[in-house]
């Protein structure tokens, strides 16, 4: 992406100036830049400039055995790695005809929802920080840490779990972890009013976020917006409902929406989603207590594992939107091609460029964070 972005230097009219915004700045969960052309502090044009986190995931995956890629995929999205593992695992399962045992399916849903809560907590904090409210960030991160403790207990790792594997999960749940998850959810619910007070009822937040970065539903659909950003514009679209996977059909949950399509609406959707995730997790805890059995279907020796030729597209509702993995096998021990549809690709490039136009310089970071884009998903 980078070389094409460098066009010959064009001097702007004398009342305009160009500002390089990034690659390190508070508006995003990673390195990402935007070039903005300003008139005063009003943005005339914004050009997304990614590539700073390009590690060549898609190409790397072609060099690695099917099993080895489970260590690579979570790194495509740092704050929300579980949907990547899930989408990849399900693509391999679809190609290889693997059946995931029931217990593993419930565990996977549990992981996905905890990851969603973690990611949204991260976004609460970050979003507030972009308008100067750092307390919120500390709270979000500290609350997220309690969930990371659970991840550590279940998977042995706090961030990159590498836990979901084609055919199931890699380890069974430790003794008593469901009780501790329940306690953490109670704590989360206890803290929720404090988040309301600090952020959602905050006059500064409302003043800054209302009417900022508005995406109309028509534009959202045209630009490929998914996830909370799309629901913030009013469409109750969610892969968990539209194309259910794992045991989501057995779960009761609502799909929260807002109609304004601005930064505040998007954050309010996320807040409501956390409530829904807690609701899902409580059902999962209930069910997991009664389900025994294997946590993984038998797999062949990973060093001699050819996946039948074919192609599969699998998608998962991540905290950012629709994560899709398109995997092609030529019948060999490694993927022939894996394409990752990171939802942030749309949010951080075409959406951002258009939404920023006409906005003000001080809102750039806030608009970016309200879109909750993840740069490695853009760069892959």
């Amino acid at each position: 992406m980078r070389p094409e972005n460098y066009s010959p230097v064009q001097h702007p009219p004398s009342h305009e100036y160009e500002l390089y915004f990034g690659p390190n700045h508070p508006g995003i969960e990673g390195n990402y830049a935007i070039r903005v052309r300003l008139n005063g502090d009003v943005i005339q044009e914004a050009i997304a400039d990614g590539g700073y986190l390009h590690r060549g995931f898609e190409k790397l995956m072609e060099q690695r055995l099917w099993i080895q890629n489970i260590a690579l995929v979570p790194r495509i999205c740092v704050p929300d790695p579980v949907p990547m593992e899930e989408a990849y695992a399900r693509a391999v399962e679809a190609l290889g005809g693997l059946e995931v045992p029931e217990r593993a399916q419930w565990i996977r849903v549990m992981m996905l929802e905890i990851s969603r809560i973690c990611s949204h907590l991260f976004t609460f904090g970050g979003n507030a920080a972009t308008i100067g409210l750092y307390t919120n960030m500390f709270w979000g991160i500290s609350m997220r840490d309690l969930f990371l403790d659970l991840f550590e207990e279940i998977t042995g790792a706090r961030i990159y779990h590498m836990y979901i594997t084609p055919g199931g999960v890699r380890r069974d749940l430790p003794e008593g972890v469901l009780d501790r998850l329940e306690a953490t959810l109670d704590e989360m619910e206890r803290r929720t009013p404090e988040f309301e007070d600090l952020f959602f009822d905050n006059a500064v937040v409302i003043k800054r976020a209302r009417g900022t970065g508005v995406i109309s539903l028509r534009d959202a659909l045209a630009w490929g917006v998914t996830g909370p950003n799309l629901r913030g514009s009013g469409l109750p679209s969610d892969v968990r409902r539209d194309d259910p996977y794992l045991v989501y059909p057995d779960l009761e949950f609502d799909i929260p929406t807002e109609v304004e399509g601005d930064a505040l609406a998007r954050m309010r959707v996320r807040k409501a989603e956390v409530v829904q995730s807690i609701r899902i997790l409580r059902q999962v805890i209930e069910r997991l207590r009664g389900i025994e059995g294997p946590i993984r279907c038998p797999l062949p020796n990973p060093l001699a594992w050819n996946i039948p030729a074919g192609e599969a597209y699998t998608r998962v509702e991540s905290s950012k939107g629709e994560v899709g993995f398109f995997a092609v096998s030529d019948g060999g021990p490694k993927p022939y091609r894996v394409h990752v549809r990171g939802p942030s690709q749309m949010h951080a490039v075409q959406v951002l460029e258009r939404v920023l136009k006409g906005g003000r310089l001080e809102d750039v970071a806030q608009i970016m964070f309200s879109l909750d884009a993840c740069p490695p998903e853009v760069d892959r």
């Binding site: 550590e152 380890r171 959602f200 060093l303």
Partner: protein, 613 residues
């Protein structure tokens, strides 16, 4: 909370956050926090369990693992031990722990230790032992669990005849894998190469197993023929040292390497096998000639190699058919003769002239052979039976196992005894016991066969499957008993009455020499019409003549040879059972060494077929 557009929020509510000033922090800095029970910290490796197979290195996504040679560690290819251990580069490691989940021995784990700070980059490259990166003995974190093992530890079952359908005939017991079972079995292989080093002939087992898994049978046969011209034989009766060394066998059932070889050979027709086997044959003749005495596996292997290198090889065999013990010792239910013939046909196709019914002796003296040929190889094996020499063994109905097996193979009619006792606990003892049991069932419909072995059940010399299958076929196996005397039917009756055995207390003396001690109070009489001794064989080297016997150096009744099989007499080599034993694959390996040595002797340089690959 009201969300009408008019709602402008509150300036007071956020101030509630000030109450947090009086709360405990969520994280307490500077307090060391213990990691969770299955944390993925730095590696630990139990060196006692680790065999150095290097599977961790193969699975590592990031090439973070290197195998380091450690002098002083056990280096025992036959037991599957390599003196090397994994070292981890933490500049590359991503803590995915696939190395732990695939480790065949379960020696590798991740510990709960997670802090290492140093300005020295070299300290991030460690050779983990059971104490961990800093020797602090942190407990194990992420370790192997049964439900998360990445290896398949169970072997594909081999379809074979049930005891009822095999007890009265000499049809092959094992049916062989079908394609699917073979691919599944081959897929279990982790390509560690332990088998290659354990095999006396260093067969390229990882390569042909991989080729079978990929469905490329031709490549498999090509890999097999690189080191073994008796694949049909070894695919059936090999003592499979490879499987003893197999890393998968440390916790599970080793890969059925022997059956996979059998499968690869069965998949191609004989014509195609011959073409592949003769690839690389030198067309130019060297003009040199070699005589090989004995057409067992050692002799024919050397003959095959030398013929491929362009020498004119003639094999002299005393018996009517070539193959030696493979034909006249191993019963047909284990090794069908047509499969042996297939192997030998390939060797003949390489240009080896095999002359049967040509015993070296008065009609074909050794001196003439040494004059007519540029090099002579002795590979006459152990053709004579040995006797326990207990009283009564001079009775005509006390037979030697090798002589009986020979007679059965030749199709000679033998008087099938109604009741028989076999003395011995090795594979030959079981061969004769099971062969006679078949004949008993065929003639009289019932089996009365007893096998007495000195060894206890857990320490039998014979293969486990021999013991199990013999019992299924009605052979009574008695362990821990030694022969005392052969008794007659009555004081005036000269016919054989049976064998008296006594309980064996110990087999070896303190210095490890064979010196059994018996409990004379525990005597048993096994009534029998025939007693068969199967306690080992001896070589018959009378054909060498006095002068040559005198000139050769001997060690404990066997010709002494160098590592390359050369005897102390120039131009004369010896190999196979007559010098070392104990099985086909050792003989094949010795045959290769002799061929290489003879080739060098004949001026062929050090180039060998294998080195030319």
């Amino acid at each position: 909370m009201d969300v009408t557009p008019k709602y402008k929020g509150s300036f007071v509510k956020p101030l509630k956050a000030l109450s947090h000033l009086f709360r405990e922090p969520v994280t307490l800095p500077m307090v060391p926090r213990p990691a969770s029970d299955n944390y993925r910290g730095f590696h630990v490796n139990d060196w006692e369990l680790c065999v150095g197979c290097g599977t961790c290195r193969q699975i590592c996504d990031n090439a973070a693992i290197r195998m380091i040679h450690i002098p002083g560690l056990p280096d025992d290819p036959a037991a599957g031990l390599k003196p090397r251990r994994p070292a981890i580069d933490y500049g590359r490691c991503c803590w995915c722990a696939l190395c732990v989940d695939i480790c065949p021995t379960g020696s590798l784990a991740l510990s709960r230790e997670y802090v290492h700070v140093s300005p020295d980059m070299n300290t991030y490259f460690i050779l983990p032992d059971e104490k961990g990166i800093h020797g602090l003995n942190f407990p194990k974190g992420w370790a192997k669990t049964d439900d998360a093992d990445l290896l398949d530890l169970a072997r594909q079952p081999m379809p074979q005849r049930d005891p009822d359908s095999r007890g009265d005939n000499f049809d092959e017991i094992v049916h062989g894998y079908d394609d699917q079972a073979a691919i599944l079995e081959a897929s279990r292989c982790i390509q560690c190469g332990m088998c290659h080093e354990a095999c006396p002939a260093n067969m390229h087992a990882p390569e042909y197993i991989r080729a079978i898994w990929e469905g490329d049978k031709e490549r498999a046969v090509r890999e097999i023929y690189r080191t073994n011209p008796f694949p049909e034989v070894c695919g059936r009766v090999c003592t499979h040292r490879c499987e003893t060394a197999c890393s998968i066998g440390k916790r599970g059932a080793p890969i059925a390497i022997r059956w996979l070889k059998r499968h690869a050979m069965a998949a191609l027709d004989d014509e195609r096998v011959r073409t592949i086997a003769l690839e690389g044959k030198v067309e130019d003749r060297t003009g040199k000639s070699v005589a090989v005495i004995g057409s067992g596996p050692a002799g024919l292997t050397a003959a095959f190699d030398l013929a491929k290198l362009g020498h004119a090889v003639t094999v002299f065999e005393a018996k009517p058919e070539p193959g030696g013990m493979m034909r006249y010792g191993i019963p047909e239910y284990r090794l069908p003769y047509d499969r042996l013939d297939a192997d030998i046909a390939v060797i003949r196709a390489a240009g080896v002239d095999i002359r049967c019914d040509s015993p070296v002796g008065p009609d074909l003296p050794m001196d003439k052979l040494r004059d007519d040929f540029d090099a002579v190889m002795l590979a006459t094996g152990l053709g004579a039976g040995r006797s326990t020499r207990v009283p009564g063994t001079d009775h005509p109905d006390v037979k030697s196992a090798v002589a009986l097996l020979d007679a059965i193979t030749r199709g000679e009619s033998i008087d099938v005894p109604g009741r028989a006792v076999v003395i011995g606990g090795g594979n030959v003892a079981f061969d004769i016991a099971r062969s006679l049991a078949r004949l008993q069932r065929k003639t009289s419909g019932r089996v009365d066969m007893t096998l007495v072995a000195l060894e206890e059940r857990d320490h039998m010399l014979a293969d486990e499957e021999e013991v199990v299958e013999a019992r299924e076929e009605g052979v009574v196996v008695l362990n821990g008993r030694g022969p005392r005397q052969v008794v007659l039917a009555g004081p005036s009756d000269k016919t054989l009455g049976g064998l008296e055995t006594v309980r064996c207390l110990s087999i070896f003396d303190e210095e490890g020499r064979f010196h059994p001690k018996y409990d004379d109070g525990d005597v048993m009489l096994h009534e029998a019409d025939m007693v068969i001794e199967a306690i080992g064989q001896a070589s018959d080297t009378g054909y060498l003549g006095e002068d040559l016997t005198e000139a050769l150096e001997w060690a404990r009744g066997r010709i002494e040879v160098g590592a390359d099989g050369a005897t102390s007499v120039s131009g004369l080599w010896a190999a196979g059972d007559m010098v070392e034993g104990p099985d086909v694959i050792h003989a094949v390996a010795a045959g290769h060494r002799v061929a290489e040595s003879i080739h060098r002797f004949l001026g062929g340089g050090t180039t060998t077929l294998e080195a030319a690959e």
